[in-house]
């Protein structure tokens, strides 16, 4: 299925990450946006407010982020691809309804343009402190998909990917951007509509009378019937069976949660994306994501100029965590250097997967700016001593 020609603004543009993210959503078929203003994600909402009404879509500014998350779930059930965009404080508010989206298997995209936290923090300055929250922020047992763009171009591309993954696996997919990416203006190339593949909503192949809302296909993902067509859908946040009816037993819960977890874990090959370069035989591998990866580029160049064999493993998919990639790289290198604008979050995952085969050196930064690239360079130099 290709994107719609009328709505894709094909060509070369000079736009910021937030705008690019909005355009990516529109290309992917998003026609519903519910959000709440919050720095540094507000521009996504503003762009959607301008664009959606003329595309037959809906922009609504909800009263808070809790309502925004609920509204995009409702709109998704109403058949419109939907998205919201926020930052740390709003992301925290969205957690409960994110769980509802996971439990009811509702496709949608949630964008977090991270800023320095915790709490109100530094609204206009970058942070990357929500990475673990992206994985564990909602209560209970679940898996999530989260993608981290490192440029406005990627903000657009990965938003399209996020919509496709959300439809393919029926869950909310997260875009873990940050303030730098959101407010950075760079060249963004929007391809022709027919070059963009769109994953369509999975429609049931059975008659309404025979439809079971949570009967999975072979890939563990159920078809999603449209509302108002006689399918008599049932959804609930309670533990449920294939009919969508609450079943209050441990057995039913284990069966359901196992499927929700497996549908992501067993299909990891479709979701894992990294940028890997020169990791074989490297003295040190820089493992980073988002705007930190941009800063690390300078340090990589300088270190290589000094004769250090530096590999790069840039995480594009952060969750599910690219375990195999890190495990394999750990066997080929002596050390990982993990710069991130937090006190070491993804570094914990790298350390877990490195399993002692390579040192893991974190380059933390509590937030408010990107790293001084010199700090990353010094960590690389220390790593090879």
């Amino acid at each position: 299925m290709a994107a719609s020609k009328e709505t894709v603004l094909e060509g070369r543009h000079f736009i910021n990450g937030a705008t690019a993210c909005a355009e990516g959503a529109i290309i992917a078929g998003c026609r519903f946006f519910a959000g709440y203003p919050i720095t540094p994600a507000t521009e996504v909402a503003e762009r959607m407010a301008e664009r959606l009404p003329h595309l037959g879509g809906v922009y609504i500014q909800m009263e808070d982020e809790i309502a925004s998350m609920a509204a995009i779930l409702g709109a998704s059930w109403g058949g419109m691809k939907s998205m919201t965009a926020t930052s740390g404080p709003g992301f925290s508010l969205m957690m409960e309804n994110l769980g509802l989206g996971l439990m009811t298997e509702t496709p949608c995209v949630v964008v977090n343009m991270q800023r320095a936290g915790p709490s109100t923090g530094l609204p206009t300055y970058v942070g990357q402190g929500d990475m673990m929250q992206a994985r564990w922020g909602s209560h209970g047992v679940y898996e999530i998909i989260a993608l981290a763009p490192s440029s406005p171009q990627e903000a657009m591309d990965l938003t399209i990917t996020a919509f496709n993954l959300s439809e393919e696996f029926r869950l909310p997919v997260l875009i873990m951007g940050d303030e730098i990416i959101s407010h950075m203006t760079e060249r963004v190339v929007i391809p022709p509509a027919d070059k963009v593949k769109i994953y369509p909503r999975r429609m049931p192949k059975v008659r309404p009378d025979d439809y079971l809302p949570y009967q999975p296909d072979k890939d563990l993902v159920p078809a999603m019937a449209p509302v108002g067509e006689g399918y008599h859908i049932q959804t609930t946040g309670l533990t449920h069976n294939e009919k969508g009816y609450p079943v209050m037993t441990s057995e039913a819960h284990q069966k359901l949660i196992k499927r929700l977890v497996d549908k992501i874990i067993l299909n990891k090959n479709k979701t894992i994306r990294v940028e890997e370069e020169n990791t074989a035989g490297a003295d040190v591998v820089i493992c980073s994501y988002g705007s930190s990866a941009r800063i690390a580029e300078w340090a990589i160049k300088e270190a290589r100029a000094k004769g250090i064999k530096v590999g790069k493993l840039r995480l594009i998919t952060v969750w599910p965590f690219p375990e195999e990639k890190v495990r394999a790289a750990a066997k080929k290198t002596k050390a990982f250097v993990v710069p991130e604008i937090n006190n070491g979050q993804i570094a914990l995952e790298v350390e877990r997967c490195a399993a002692g085969n390579a040192k893991v050196i974190t380059v933390p930064h509590m937030g408010g700016s990107t790293h001084n690239p010199q700090d990353i360079l010094e960590s690389i130099i220390r790593a090879v001593k």
């Binding site: 808070d64 309502a67 049932q234």
Partner: protein, 316 residues
Amino acid sequence: MENKISQHPLDEFIRQDRMPHIWCPGCGLGTVFSGLLNAIIKSSASDVALCDEPRPVGRETSPAGGGIDLNKVAIVSGIGCTGRIAGYVRFDGFHTTHGRAIPFATGLKLARPDLKVIVVSGEGDLFSIGGNHFIHAGRRNVDLTVVCVNNSNYGMTGGQCSATTPVRAVTTTTPFGNFEAPFSLPHIAAAVGAVYVARWTAFHAQKMQASIARAIQKKGFSFVEIMSPCPTYYARMNKLGTGLDMMKFYKDNTVIANEVKLEDISITRGGKIVIGDFIDKDRPTFNDLVEEMTCKFTPAGHAKPSGEDKQKLELH
């Protein structure tokens, strides 16, 4: 008449494989459920006379009158005893998170204006945790029907106080008596601009059913509060007897007063309950205003941008 097996007229609209429902003997929810179903069915008949204007050609919203398509009825509920209704109806039913039925329903309705979206939930769900969402949906005048069952406590979790528990009433979290003044729900609904506001009790089943039907068929944010007995908790803890005793109390201690000052009609212990059809008016809905100002809002299709629009859409 022969002695044959026949079916209760509402059985086909109920998920029989979920019956019996969980509500206690004497709980008014079954009566409300029955009234809701009858109101929906009544609204699907094409000969129901109503005063709303017919829909303009090309506008894919539900006809503002009878003749609603039963396949296009969607029930959205929150958490609590009342919230279980979404799971019992043979329509599209969405059992969402506590307090968040209204924003979910807003998203659903705006994505599919052709649906008849009815929010059915309890007073704790809609006005405590959900209060903020209620007032904004009312302010926006999204075309939703909200049916609120008010049993003066949080029944599902064992009888704690709620925002409508009368002063001095005893609940598990107000063992000395409730220190807090309760809301008047019709007052809040009217204050935020609901176009239809009514309060009845489960005893006033006919009026309740007619109000729900009116609310369903009316365009805009419509609100019906229904007082209902909670025999297991509220009635027992406040020595109000059985569910039947509370129904008889509603029969003998209610006053129908359509023109009353809504801020004065919160519930008091042992006092008269004022019920009636309080507000029935019209004002532009959210979608009306979007359409007026964007001029090209077509919910179901993609509008092709005009030449002028394309210029505006060019990224700068």
